[in-house]
């Protein structure tokens, strides 16, 4: 590298750092906006879940459509309305109204929070891209780069789900909080100056294997967040159905979340959707290991934990198909599987030494 290019790259790396710090500032604002949303939302006193559990249920309906009539005139023809009902044994509870609790002010802050999150996402993504440009390679050479990409992808996935009009706004606060945590750890403990890669990482498999690994982790994270909230909400619904009275704050927060059944489904769908990609990630890693180290599978700590994570998610998917293991037990398995993933990332990289440790802390 010529000195001139090196200086340019150093400038880019510095710009990247500024962008990451700026995104943290914006995420912090988004965090406070979410807090405001939850606070204002708590002022609505509707107690919907309790009512739903004891009273009549409202069935979801597909939207009506306008159809052109036969005689050339436009008549409003109703699309047949589909009634849904849950399977036997599950509670038929509608989703909560969301953090804003139906209050106008809460909703305003919620919208501000989402806009800020989107802005922070753009800034952070720019930080990742400038980092990549400064090192002239994929920005996944060490844990710092891995962390900033990880949170970018998690937020990006959340925003895509929002844009697809999926009911995921309840994820906002929890997501922004963990993103701040992740970035805080990244800039204080994991920071590594931008630089080239050691020879073992010179491979197009870096693009394939590491990018899918990051993506899977970020999406598994959303699934795990869903599973945690499911456990709380399920306990809350269970208590209400059993005639118990949950605490005031717990009610206020949990009441606004989607129903346990929705959260459970969200978590399952997310986990099931990325599981094939996670399988692919491990296989791609094995192929790369075959090229780089001369063996496909050597029970290196990183390989062991990828395997454990994979088997744990397979367990979770099996549990869902086995009567008696649905619901809470399956959710615990999903959380165990995600804990394995996190440990594989932080714990194995920092505490256990193996062939993967050259990746740099």
């Amino acid at each position: 590298m010529t000195p001139l290019a090196a200086a340019a790259n150093e400038n880019l790396a510095e710009i990247s750092n500024y962008l990451i710090y700026s995104s943290m500032a914006v995420y912090t604002l988004a965090f406070f906006a979410h807090i405001a949303e939850w606070t204002f939302g708590s002022r609505s006193k509707v107690a919907r879940t309790a009512a739903a559990l004891t009273g009549a249920k409202e069935a979801a309906a597909a939207p009506a459509v306008q159809v052109r009539g036969k005689g050339g005139a436009t008549a409003v023809l109703d699309r047949p309305k589909v009634t849904t009902r849950s399977g036997a044994g599950t509670r038929d509870v509608p989703d909560g109204p969301g953090a804003a609790g139906g209050t106008v002010q809460g909703d305003l802050y919620g919208r501000i929070a989402v806009s800020l999150t989107a802005l922070a996402f753009l800034v952070e993504a720019a930080g990742v891209v400038t980092r990549a440009m400064s090192v002239e390679r994929a920005p996944w050479g060490n844990m710092y780069e891995f962390s900033i990409t990880f949170s970018t992808v998690a937020v990006g996935t959340y925003l895509v789900l929002l844009a697809l009009k999926k009911n995921v706004r309840w994820l906002g606060l929890i997501l922004v909080t963990t993103v701040l945590l992740d970035l805080g750890i990244a800039v204080t403990w994991l920071y590594t100056d931008s630089d080239q890669l050691v020879p073992a990482l010179h491979s197009y498999w870096l693009w394939i294997h590491v990018s899918t690994a990051i993506f899977c982790g970020a999406v598994f994270y959303l699934g795990a967040a869903g599973a945690v909230l499911y456990l709380f909400r399920d306990a809350y619904e269970g208590k209400l159905a059993g005639g118990g009275k949950p605490g005031r704050i717990a009610s206020s927060v949990l009441e606004r979340l989607p129903s346990a059944a929705s959260l459970d489904k969200f978590s399952y769908r997310i986990n099931a959707a990325v599981f094939p990609l996670w399988t692919f990630t491990i296989i791609a890693g094995a192929i790369w290991a075959g090229d780089a180290w001369g063996r496909y599978w050597g029970w290196d700590p990183k390989e062991v934990w990828s395997f454990v994570t994979w088997v744990a998610y397979a367990c979770y998917l099996h549990a869902r198909a086995t009567a008696g293991w649905k619901g809470r037990k399956a959710a615990y398995l999903a959380l165990f599987a995600f804990a394995c993933w996190i440990w594989n990332y932080y714990g194995v990289n920092i505490l256990l030494s193996g062939k993967h440790s050259y990746a740099g802390v």
Binding site: A52, L77, P80, P199, R320
Partner: protein, 570 residues
């Protein structure tokens, strides 16, 4: 349209009572085995059958899977013999009180231990025992027809109904054409059409589980027939692929030396580049070995390159570049001034900056100044970049040859190489040797730059550091079965995607003439519990059918709809 009303009169949390037709409607949506309670029948066969059913049940598969993931964990926390035997020795030294327990539990060989093998063998027996009946069942389902509509369609997870002026036969004919057009398999009953779709889900699931078995077989095959050998090659020297040439060789149990493909190569050049500045100074950037390769017994030589991620492939074997280092060239003269030894001595890197240690062993031809035959030995510490005078320690500051220095201390006596015990070429066994001492009685040692000569005390001879050669280590592996494993892996992913993304679901359409002579259409759908898209799909299908058989108006059937019953708009 009273659907909503009907649904809302149901108590919300009560399990829906299922009639026989309803049970049939939901049957065989999957081939998952059903849970089983206790042993039926008496005696050994009863128990054996019960045990077999337990083993092949979903619950036990789940438990075994969970055990497999837990069982894999210790192998990442305790060093493993087949990964790094040196670390195992170190661990045993550091945790003396646990060694007994750890060895009893085979914690140093987790992945070949009895208990780990037991878990995965049971799992795979369970898997085979599970797949075969499921595959048969699935074939049966493929041959069968969608089950008839249950009596009460409004009890199903998704349901819709409307009244139309078309006749029931017209509606059913439309429905059948429409469903067949959407690639449903349809079956007409008297007053209904039954349809089913998504068989690929089950097929994908079976493919996935079979692929797991294929992968296991491929791994086992690879384990038994593989071979893996390491060789250190000095620049300018060669290697030919026969058993005796390897420094170390790990064959699988069924490997035969004749399986080694014949080839040879010489290492012409080795390049290593490092980061020269910045905080990552010294981090390697590029390793490249240039070799001249001859394939077969008498192949024509050809120039090839080997890099870290780019092994050389020869006839089913792969040659990997693993490591590299330096080999100081050392010559030794005896007291008469005759050169009795000259060789490049590879030294082994100890850290990232290639601080290296090794031993020079002069086994033949040396006589001391009294004419007594003896052997000489030198412990060597080599640093490619010395910090500078006064900076004392022999730790290298940089991996390239910026300021190479060699520290030698000298011994004489017997090297013990004839004792019959295996010897480490990189280490001196000084148990039968004496050190050379300097004037003050300390051990004689000296630091040398290339070209320097050191004179041993009492005119015992001289040692010259002539220069530096490089070496690279290669690993030659032969791993059969990896193609099969890859095919299994691809099939597994494809099967998994099919299994997780495709929904198996059933749709029923019923059309009957109501009491007032108007046709009542009912549509309902049933899928696996996770099929979230089912209501949406049903709504789409209903909308399509509705175009053909629009809602009847209460008054005159010919006029378009002006009013709709209770709250349907929006």
């Amino acid at each position: 349209m009273s659907t909503t009303d009907k649904a809302s009169t149901e108590a919300p949390n009560e399990p829906v009572p299922a009639d026989a037709a309803e049970e049939a409607a939901g049957s065989q949506l999957s081939t998952a085995p059903v849970e089983d309670s206790g042993p039926v029948g008496i005696g050994v066969t009863g128990w054996a059958r019960w045990f077999w059913r337990q083993l092949t049940s979903m619950r036990v598969a789940l438990i075994l899977l969970f055990l497999l993931s837990l069982g894999a964990i210790p192998g990442s926390l305790v060093p493993q013999t087949n990964v790094d035997a040196l670390k195992v020795a170190q661990w045993k030294k550091d945790h003396p009180s646990f060694v007994g327990v750890a060895e009893a539990l085979q914690l140093f060989d987790v992945y070949s231990s009895v208990w780990f093998s037991a878990i995965y063998l049971l799992l795979f027996v369970s898997l085979i025992g599970c797949i075969i009946p499921r595959a048969w069942q699935f074939v049966g389902q493929l041959r069968g027809r969608p089950p008839a509509a249950p009596k009460r369609l409004d009890r199903l997870p998704a349901h819709t109904t409307w009244r139309t002026d078309s006749t029931p036969d017209e509606v059913l004919a439309y429905a059948r054409t429409m469903l067949a057009g959407k690639r449903f398999r349809t079956e007409a009953g008297g007053t209904h059409v039954a349809a089913e779709k998504g068989y690929l889900r089950e097929a994908g699931n079976l493919v996935f589980h079979v692929a797991l078995i294929v992968m296991l077989v491929a791994f086992a095959w690879g384990q038994y027939f593989k071979s893996e050998g390491g060789k250190l090659v000095l620049r300018g020297s060669g290697f030919s692929n026969t058993l005796t040439q390897y420094d170390d060789f790990k064959p699988g149990t069924l490997f035969h030396p004749d399986d080694l493909p014949p080839f040879s190569f010489t290492l012409d050049r080795f390049d290593a580049t490092y980061e020269m500045s910045g905080p990552q100074r010294g981090t390697p950037r590029d390793f490249k070995a240039y070799v001249t390769l001859s394939e077969g017994a008498h192949g024509t030589p050809q120039k090839r390159e080997i890099q870290v991620n780019e092994p050389l492939e020869i006839d089913g074997s792969k040659v990997y570049l693993l490591g590299h280092g330096y080999a100081p060239i050392i010559s030794v003269t005896d007291p008469t001034g005759k050169v009795i030894y000259k060789d490049a001595v590879p030294v082994l890197p100890q850290d990232g900056n290639l601080t290296s240690t090794g031993a020079v062993k002069v086994t033949d031809g040396y006589k001391d100044k009294d004419g007594k035959q003896e052997q000489l030995g030198f412990n060597a510490v080599f640093v490619p970049t010395f910090a500078g005078e006064g900076m004392g320690t022999m730790f290298s500051q940089f991996p390239a040859l910026l300021n190479p220095q060699l520290m030698l201390n000298a011994w004489h006596g017997s090297l013990g190489v004839d004792s019959g015990l295996p010897q480490n070429v990189y280490r001196l066994d000084t148990s039968k040797m004496e050190m050379f001492k300097d004037a003050s009685g300390q051990q004689f040692k000296q630091k040398l730059a290339p070209g320097d000569t050191m004179t041993l005390p009492d005119g015992a001879g001289t040692v010259k550091f002539e220069g530096i050669e490089r070496w690279a280590t290669f690993s030659v592996t032969h791993q059969p079965g990896s193609g099969l494993a890859l095919a299994g892996a691809i099939a597994a992913i494809a099967g998994l995607a099919g299994s997780l993304f495709i929904q198996r679901r059933r749709i029923w359409v019923r059309a009957v003439t109501g009491e007032d002579g108007v046709t009542v259409v009912e549509m309902a759908g049933l899928g696996r519990s996770e099929s979230a898209r089912l209501p949406e799909e049903l709504a789409d299908l209903a909308a399509t059918l509705h175009e053909q058989a629009p809602t009847a108006t209460p008054g005159s059937p010919a006029e378009p709809v002006e009013e709709t019953p209770e709250g349907e708009r929006g």
